[in-house]
Every structure is written in structure tokens, then in C-alpha cells.
């Protein structure tokens, strides 16, 4: 059953990164668009994301719930050391969610739209940046584990783990990935003649992802981050990264050919590989602290808990996944399915 739980943990993480990421990315794309393109993007986002965006964000709740049930000690370290960036993420999630609904459900369209738009765009960028910083915080080796936090400074305990160059780079890297996913997705959903806006955005996002990714690794190498050292020594991680880079060729080919299914598949698979590279680099030692590594597999909840959780997840998955698939099919992917 532990494998079932681990599967759902990683599965939710992946779906959150892919679906939630594309969702955040839509706001980022809108943020970095000209005024006219913003209007087009806003309309497209509503049509594409409207029916599914709520579902996209529930994956993080599933992720958190699995963490606290099955890996309570690990969860405890995250919520204590990374309290501040997580609070900012929550603020971002809140503002973004309400802004999305306000701008589409306000009965009167007037100047307040500008406020909703600004809230939506800015929080679409800030939230994934801080989410990335949380992930960076787990792997950058700055988390200090002590019995009594009063024995170290506030900065050491609650700020240093996430407020540093490496984490900030990881934050922006994740935001760039979101923008990349979203622009590829939007190519297939835009109206006739508007594809080029997103083709261009995909190009820019690809360059940004590559540059930030490279800078992150170089930065980590220079300052001798344990994670980066592991990464550079792990042949599978490097392989996954290289494959992800090579896939840019078929990606661009399919985009130029206007093949929407394959271009999405390649973009999604590239992000899958990048996350895979990060995960295999340090799995199961998900948290790297100042004094050593903490394995996800240490301090697991008792068997009885894992068993019940596994069964709940299988039942929940059996109910949710077909429903979700049907929802995606009915709305988001409807255009594509019609064409093929």
C-alpha cells in the first residue's frame, strides 16, 4: 500500500505541476502581453480554463493531505521552516482565485475589471515563484533542524531556508515552466489567426526556461549546493534533462505543423522529464538540511494508516479520474477531439 500512496503523492505532484502550472502560466502570459493581446488572452483563458481551473488546483490539497497523513514528520518540517513562503503562496492562491471569478462573474462590467485583471496577473506570477522557492528551500540545504528553535536565530530558522539566490532562481524557473506549458496549450485553443501570439510566447518562454535553468545550475555549482552536486553526478537526471532539451526539436516541428495534440504532449513530457530529473536526483532524501538528508521513507505513518489511506485514494481516484477526464473532454479538449 505504501507504493499506492507514493504513486498518488507523485501523481498529484505531477498533475499539479502540469495542470496547475499551465493555469498559473496563463496569468503570466497575460501579464507579459501587450494591451490588445491581453484582451484576447483573457477571453481564451476563460474559455479554456473556466470549467477546469478549480479542479486543477485541488491537486495541491490532495498532495498536502497525503503528506500530512502518511509522512507527518516530513510535513512538520516543511510547515515550520517554510512557514513564510507558504503563507505568501496562500495569499497568492486566494487573490488569484477570487480575481478569476470576480472578473468573469461580476454582473456589471466597469473599471473594477482593471483591478481584477491586475490582481489575477500579478498573483499568477507571485504564487508559482514562491511555490518554486518552497521547493528550492527543501533541496538547498539551508533548513536547520533543532529541538528548540529558540536556540537559533529567527533568520536561521525561518528565513534562511528559502530566502537565498538558489531558491529564488528555482522559483523563477518554475514560473517560467508554467508560462511555457501555458503558451503551448494556448496555441491550440486560440481563435483563427491568433496562434502566432502564443507561438511567439512559447519561443520566449523556452528561452527563459533554458537561461534560468542554466543559471540555477551554474549558481548551485559555484556555491557547492549538495543538490546540484548530486544532480551533476546522476547520469539518469542528466539524461532526463538532455532528453527534455532534445524534445524541443519535435515540439517546434509539431507547433509549426499545427499539430495540437502532439505539441501539448511534447511540452507536457518535457516538464515531466525536468521534474523527474529533480526527483531522481535526491529521492528519497527529499529534504536536504544543514546537517544531512531526511528521507521521505523515514518516519512513515503506521501501516494501518497507510492501508486505509491507500484504499481511500484508490476509491477516490476511481471516482474522480473518469469524471475529470470527461470534464476535460467535454470542454477543454473538445476542439481537438472534433478535429481528429
Amino acid at each position: 500500500m505504501l507504493y499506492v500512496v507514493l504513486f498518488f503523492l507523485i501523481f498529484s505532484l505531477y498533475l499539479y505541476v502540469l495542470l496547475g502550472g499551465a493555469d498559473y502560466g496563463a496569468g503570466i502570459v497575460e501579464l507579459f502581453s501587450s494591451e490588445e493581446n491581453q484582451k484576447i488572452t483573457k477571453k481564451t483563458i476563460y474559455r479554456v480554463m473556466g470549467p477546469v481551473w478549480e479542479a486543477n488546483h485541488i491537486w495541491i490539497i490532495i498532495l498536502i493531505v497525503i503528506l500530512w497523513i502518511a509522512f507527518p514528520v516530513y510535513y512538520n518540517i516543511i510547515v515550520v521552516s517554510l512557514h513564510i513562503p507558504l503563507t505568501i503562496v496562500l495569499l497568492g492562491v486566494t487573490l488569484r482565485g477570487v480575481a478569476f471569478v470576480f472578473r468573469h462573474y461580476d454582473a456589471i462590467i466597469d473599471n473594477s475589471q482593471q483591478l481584477y485583471d491586475r490582481m489575477f496577473k500579478v498573483s499568477s506570477l507571485i504564487t508559482p515563484v514562491f511555490l518554486g522557492m518552497v521547493f528550492g528551500g527543501l533541496i538547498n540545504g539551508k533548513i536547520t533542524i533543532v529541538d528548540d528553535v529558540a536556540s537559533i536565530t529567527f533568520y536561521q530558522a525561518f528565513v534562511a531556508p528559502w530566502f537565498n539566490g538558489f531558491s529564488i532562481l528555482v522559483g523563477f524557473f518554475f514560473a517560467a515552466l508554467c508560462a511555457f506549458l501555458s503558451s503551448v496549450l494556448l496555441i491550440g485553443e486560440s481563435d483563427e489567426g491568433q496562434e502566432n501570439i502564443y507561438v511567439r510566447k512559447s519561443g520566449i518562454a523556452t528561452v527563459v526556461v533554458f537561461v534560468i535553468g542554466l543559471v540555477t545550475i551554474v549558481y548551485g555549482y559555484i556555491f557547492e549546493y549538495t543538490f546540484v552536486t548530486y544532480f551533476l553526478q546522476n547520469i539518469y537526471a542528466i539524461g532526463a534533462m538532455l532528453l527534455s532539451g532534445l524534445l524541443l526539436v519535435p515540439l517546434w516541428f509539431t507547433i509549426k505543423r499545427g499539430n495540437k495534440i502532439w505539441s501539448r504532449f511534447f511540452a507536457g513530457f518535457q516538464v515531466f522529464l525536468i521534474l523527474l530529473a529533480a526527483l531522481i536526483t535526491h529521492f528519497p532524501y527529499i529534504i536536504i538540511t544543514t546537517t544531512g538528508n531526511i528521507s521521505l521513507l523515514d518516519h512513515i505513518a503506521p501501516d494501518s494508516v497507510i492501508r486505509v489511506l491507500g484504499i481511500s485514494l484508490i476509491i477516490g481516484g476511481a471516482v474522480i479520474l473518469p469524471g475529470l477526464f470527461h470534464l476535460l473532454k467535454s470542454f477543454k479538449m473538445i476542439k481537438i477531439l472534433e478535429q481528429h
Binding site: 478549480e54 510547515v79 515550520v80 503563507t87 456589471i108 467535454s330
Partner: protein, 432 residues
């Protein structure tokens, strides 16, 4: 402000808001599907207009409920990491099922909101039912987790360790049913009266009277039925608490001295120094009867419990009085509504509509008061008799700043949502 106080205030504050959003998001779908059903049956445009207007309300409240709920799922750990470290695995089951129910609700909502003219009529309507049912299921599951804090079960507590964990038994703890029943009825009462009150105001103002009267009827029918059933559930809860958490019952009634044939105090001002309640109405033997079904039964007083195991008595007592008082008032109002179905003349009287306008916020006031009784009444424990709240709080200092942040954000959010609702109604009234 002490970190513990700030953390408790933040939790209370965010819960108070979440509860309102969540209840409306949970109950309004039922109003919506009733109106939708009437539209399918009668093809009267009025019902279609009403359904579409309510669905916007559902969408807005669902999202505010969902984001404040997401925040809470993190806050549990952010504010009470020691609690979650031990309790997380034990009460994880209702939370994981709640996650699934919530997911189903979000999927159904996607179908419903975007399914007009795209999905088969009956299937579309049915997705509305799923929104409502999964919403109520979510509510019940979360309350079951809270029930565990009041009635911890499904584990052995040996030398500070939680052993032999049985998540199913923990979920089906002795408090889950009484609490879930009471809360579900409360959600229907509060939302029913609030929505009915808003439409009553429109009728009173003579705006689109036919439409708002129909809306009023649908909402108040749910609210009135729930309000009339609530005292039964309250009685079950009282007997349950008398047995399991006698100190909470004693605080609810500000009952300091153990006695047989204990009187029920209605209202009154608690004097903690003299341990007396002034200006109250006392009904002899009634507390004993309500708690144990016997007018002579012995009811334990607060003095029977160590001082460091008692909650804040005045707060619990006043909150309880408010809840009971409003509950009785709403039950009466529910009866008045059903009588008015026979006496149609009442509906033309302004007084009738003003009565229901005034009642609009009361259900929610009672509901919040009820949660104050449950939560403050459990103190100083976060897990009854197992873990103290002060031992669960985060070691990170300065929680007071995040508390202030939540106050600002949630207050702004509430103002924004209210403003949006006013605009919805304006537009609704302007439709020809």
C-alpha cells in the same frame, strides 16, 4: 500579543469566514437545482432567470469557500504543527475523503456552469444535484475530523505516544454524528434564512416581486424545515456533551457547583469571582432534564474540574445563550412561514417581509456562536484530554503579523463579495 493567542485568533478568524462561505456554497446549489427543476417542468422563464442568477452566487461562494478552505488546510499545519504531526495520520481519513468529495464537487460545478445548451438537459440538472450532495458530504467529513478533537478515539495513548491507530474508528468517533447532524441543519437554516431575507428585501422594495417571491419561497422552505428540526438535534448534542465533555456543558450553562436537579439558566451575566450568574431566568431542574432526561440527575459543576482544565466560562456561556436564543427564534419564524402558506393575507403585509429581512443574518450569527461553544468550550485542549493547545502551536514567533494580514485580506474579500452580490441583484432586477 502572545504567539498562542495570535495563532488562536488567526484560526478563529479564518474559520469564521470560511464557515460562512462554505455553508452558502454547500446549501445554495440545492436552491439552484429546485429552481432549475421548476424551469424544466414549467418552462416559465422566471425560473431560468433565477437559476442562472443563483448559479453565479454559487460560483462566487464556491471559489471563496474553496480558496479559504485551501488556506485552512495549510494553516492547520502552519499554526499547529505539533498537532498535525500526531493527529494528521489519525484523522487523515475524513480529510482524504473530503478531498475526494471536494474534487467531485469541483468537477460537477465545471459541468454545471459551462454545460448550458451543451449537455443533455437532465444530465446537466443532475450535475447540480452532485454539487449539492458532494458539498454536504465534504461538510460532514470535515466536521467528523473536528468531532475527533472533542472525542478522540481510534488509538491508544501510551507514554505520550499515539499507538495502534485505527483511522476508521477515529473518523467514526462518538461525536461525529451529533456534530455533523447539528452542523448540516445549521448550514441549511443559516443559508435559507439569509437568502430568503435578501429576496424578502427585494419584495419589500417592490422590485420584480414575482421572481423574488419565488426565490424567497424556495430558500425559506429549506431554512424553515431545518430550523424546526434543529432543536431535536440540539437535544441529542446536549446529552452527548453532558456525558463526554461535562466541563463544556458546565461552561455553557455557567454552572459552577455540582448539584442534583440543576436549574437551566437563560441569559444572565457571569460573575467569575463570586461564581454566580446575575439577572438570569432559572428553570428549576431543567438542566438536569435536558442533559440526562431526569429532573433529579446530578450535573457536575465547574468547581469539580481543575482550574487549568476549564475553558473561558463567560464566552462559552454567552455564545451558547445566543445560539439557543436565535435557534428558538428561527424555529418560530419557520412555523410562521408555514402558517403564512394558509393565511395568504400575511404575504401582502409589509410587516411580514420586514420580519424576514431582519432575520437574514441571524442564522449565521447562531452558527458562529455554536462553533464558539464547541471550540472555546474544548479549551485548553486541542485534543480533548490528550494535547493542550499551547503545546501544539508553531515555534515560529510573530504569528500576530500573519493574523493581521488575514484580517485585512479576508475583510476586503467579504466586502468585495457583498458588493458583487449587490451588483448581481441590481442586474437581475434590471432584466426585462
Amino acid at each position: 500579543m502572545e504567539n498562542l493567542d495570535a495563532a488562536r485568533l488567526q484560526m478563529a478568524f479564518t474559520l469564521i469566514f470560511h464557515i460562512v462561505f462554505a455553508c452558502i456554497g454547500m446549501v445554495m446549489p440545492f436552491f439552484m437545482v429546485v429552481s432549475h427543476y421548476k424551469w424544466l417542468k414549467t418552462k416559465n422563464e422566471l425560473y431560468l432567470t433565477l437559476t442562472k442568477s443563483w448559479q453565479k452566487g454559487v460560483a462566487i461562494f464556491f471559489v471563496t469557500g474553496a480558496v479559504s478552505g485551501t488556506a485552512l488546510s495549510f494553516e492547520l499545519g502552519l499554526l499547529w504543527p505539533e498537532f498535525m504531526k500526531h493527529a494528521g495520520p489519525i484523522i487523515g481519513m475524513p480529510f482524504s475523503l473530503e478531498g475526494a468529495a471536494f474534487f467531485v464537487e469541483a468537477i460537477a460545478l465545471g459541468f454545471y456552469l459551462y454545460g448550458w445548451n451543451k449537455l443533455p438537459e437532465k444530465f446537466h440538472w443532475f450535475t447540480g444535484i452532485i454539487i449539492g450532495v458532494s458539498g454536504v458530504a465534504s461538510g460532514i467529513l470535515v466536521v467528523a475530523a473536528n468531532g475527533w478533537m472533542n472525542a478522540p478515539s481510534g488509538f491508544d495513548y501510551i507514554d505520550g505516544e499515539f499507538l495502534n491507530i485505527d483511522p476508521v474508528q477515529a473518523m467514526l468517533n462518538p461525536a461525529w454524528f451529533t456534530q455533523a447532524l447539528h452542523m448540516t441543519l445549521a448550514a441549511f437554516t443559516a443559508t435559507g434564512f439569509a437568502v430568503a431575507g435578501i429576496h424578502a428585501y427585494q419584495v419589500y422594495k417592490k422590485r420584480k416581486v414575482a421572481l423574488h417571491k419565488e426565490a424567497f419561497k424556495i430558500a425559506i422552505t429549506f431554512g424553515a424545515i431545518a430550523a424546526i428540526l434543529q432543536p431535536i438535534s440540539g437535544d441529542i448534542s446536549a446529552k452527548d456533551i453532558a456525558e463526554r465533555q461535562p466541563v463544556k456543558l458546565a461552561a455553557m450553562e455557567a454552572h459552577y457547583h455540582t448539584e442534583k436537579g440543576a436549574p437551566l439558566y437563560i441569559g444572565g451575566i457571569v460573575d467569575e469571582v463570586t461564581q454566580k450568574v446575575d439577572y438570569k431566568i432559572a428553570i428549576p431542574g431543567m438542566l438536569s432534564f435536558l442533559a440526562f432526561g431526569d429532573f433529579d440527575a446530578e450535573v457536575k459543576g465547574l468547581n469539580d474540574f481543575p482550574e487549568d482544565e476549564r475553558p473561558n466560562v463567560p464566552m462559552v456561556h454567552y455564545a451558547f445563550q445566543i445560539m439557543i436564543g436565535i435557534g428558538s427564534l428561527l424555529m418560530l419564524a419557520g412555523m410562521i412561514y408555514f402558517i403564512s402558506l394558509k393565511k395568504k393575507k400575511w404575504l401582502t403585509s409589509n410587516k411580514y417581509w420586514i420580519f424576514f429581512i431582519v432575520l437574514a443574518p441571524f442564522g449565521f450569527i447562531a452558527l458562529e456562536a455554536g462553533w464558539i461553544v464547541t471550540e472555546v468550550g474544548r479549551q485548553p485542549w486541542i485534543i480533548h484530554k490528550i494535547m493542550r493547545t499551547k503545546d501544539a502551536v508553531t515555534p515560529m514567533p510573530g504569528i500576530v503579523f500573519s493574523f493581521y494580514m488575514y484580517v485585512v485580506v479576508y475583510t476586503a474579500l467579504s466586502i468585495a463579495v457583498t458588493w458583487l452580490m449587490i451588483r448581481q441583484i441590481k442586474v437581475l432586477n434590471a432584466i426585462k
